[in-house]
Point group: C2
Chain length 343, copies 2
């Protein structure tokens, strides 16, 4: 540790009191220009830097935002740009406004273990990646007046504070795009975690269904296929799946499953888009760099991060009011993985 020089040292060195030094470093107008100079001089001389912890204690604020990430999420990061991309958005805003990010990782899954973490650390607010682990979490946090914003997944019914993409619309756009290209035999692939599918996919299914309906294609359960979410298992799942069912269009729900699908099709010699058209949800920048590049329902993950942080800081600093939830319409980025059916 650097030898600690405190505000008192500076005060004595420049023949004033702590109060004055405090005023100087906080750029208070009510301090004589000359003493201000003297104090700054002393600060330089002694190499003083204010102790953030002490300041936090006195002010009751840290200028630190806790970012809650599940172990799971930080685990399968290779090839999954969600985490780093959202982080980029978050830090951009944080830096602008002089806030720092404290990484908080979860062990348990229940609201209890959540709130425990939440309170143990003195941070000014929470950004919760991947949405609430527990349905009641939002309600509990609201009740305890804990400032927070969920990023990504969310319950569309809930009144909780979150930022997300309009997944229903996304599912609709993806389906419509393929239908417009003449595809009739389309599958929506959704990740299955512990036997259930995530809320954002539930919404996408609804949108997909709407697109089918508009085109007069009857919806059947088999058009939505549950699959594993990791690289390894999704690859083998798709391998066996495509052996007995060969749609002309496939909608994938994220970067990882899209990559394994792309790899599998290449390995099996199935041409994209000639034999099968692919649409993926996810980061458009990422899918630009795959081969073939993929038609993408854009998630704008960086925007998610930026917006969530802005919402949270507005709330924390008690500034302007912002609507509790912000949902962005997705856009489709057309690339080389889709073409007219059967041409």
């Amino acid at each position: 540790m650097p030898k600690k020089v405190t505000i008192l040292d500076v005060a004595q060195f420049s023949n004033v009191t702590k109060s004055t030094v405090s005023r100087v470093i906080n750029d208070s107008p009510l301090v004589n220009e000359r003493t201000k100079q003297r104090v700054w001089q002393a600060i330089k001389e002694l190499g003083y830097t204010p102790n953030r912890t002490a300041r936090s204690l006195a002010l009751g604020k840290n200028h630190v935002i806790g970012m809650v990430v599940s172990e799971q999420q930080i685990s399968d990061v290779v090839l999954n740009p969600f985490f780093p991309t959202v982080l980029k958005g978050i830090t951009t805003v944080a830096n602008q406004q002089g806030y720092n990010i404290l990484l908080l990782s979860l062990s348990g899954q229940d609201a209890q273990s959540y709130t425990e973490i939440l309170q143990r650390h003195t941070v000014d607010g929470f950004l919760i990646l991947g949405g609430p682990s527990d349905v009641n979490l939002g309600r509990d946090l609201d009740r305890m007046k804990v400032p927070y914003v969920f990023i990504g997944k969310h319950d569309p019914e809930a009144q909780h504070s979150f930022v997300s993409t309009d997944n229903e619309e996304g599912g609709y756009i993806a389906g419509k795009h393929l239908i417009d290209l003449g595809h009739r035999n389309i599958r929506l692939m959704v990740g299955e975690v512990k036997g259930s599918i995530l809320v954002h996919n539930v919404e996408r299914i609804a949108g997909f269904r709407r697109a089918l309906g508009e085109a007069g294609i009857p919806f059947e359960d088999r058009l939505v296929v549950k699959m594993p979410t990791d690289m390894e298992n999704s690859y083998y799942f798709l391998k066996t799946y495509l052996e007995r069912d060969r749609p002309s269009g496939l909608i994938l729900s994220n970067e990882v499953t899209s990559m394994s699908c792309l790899n599998l099709l290449l390995d099996e010699g199935i041409a994209v888009p000639d034999e099968i058209s692919l649409v993926s949800f996810g980061d458009p920048q990422f899918f630009r760099n795959t081969r073939p590049s993929l038609t993408t329902v854009s998630q704008s993950v960086e925007w998610l991060g930026r917006t969530a942080m802005e919402m949270l800081l507005k709330r924390v600093t008690g500034g302007e009011w912002l609507p509790p939830k912000i949902i962005r319409k997705p856009e489709i980025v057309l690339r080389g993985s889709t073409k007219k059916c059967g041409v």
Copy 2:
């Protein structure tokens, strides 16, 4: 904010003083079992959780490690698994030992702006990703007794605290692998940032040179090619480069340039490994999922993160002594991107 219930509230509620409550929550042995029960009861009842800031101030320790990341690094994260992977290693250890990670991002590049950041935040130590931005940084930090560990890049001559891979050996292994396969016309591609190449590549060049020497192949400057490091520019650089020079073996220095190379070769219809063999430095897991999968000189990035954190915490907690630098020998993972020359 949750209504703050302090140690004093608990004390009054359970008819003891702050001191006793403090002892209870710190699990001190010198407190009566029955009052201990009473106090815990009160804690539960009131929903008390200790304030970390206050505790930090009193103890002079935070249980927080600052992770210094350059803006640049957090910017080009898509497709670059270094950051998330090293983070995984770091958080694994941090969680085990009850530490948290504070993300610190750099604006300037000089040691001055570095140390300023370093001191403004009260953290117990620093993990500096990508190595020192300034040659003197390590020395300065050492002099100021700031606990730190550099991760990744480093000056091999320096006495500073860092963990890294043996890049000279890596360059040697990569070169030798291709040479053993009969290749004679090999290029080592190294990233160029602001006109100069990074230290870890300087070492790789040395190793590459050693491999050539052993095989009796004369070294020439043109065998080492400087190129841009981002997706976009590296793609176009390679495009023009390969028009006028067509080696039989290429060594790429990271994930991003490898991807753009792979994409380019595919786009141009140049077969890997039939027409050209590829070796890359980087994360073996990542390169397993490219097509073709790439022969990789493994960086074990997660190991870097884990080890760095362990070193730092040993130093912070003043436990056992650990050598200031730890360097790990790389391994080569053989995959489908290399084959015998001309067969």
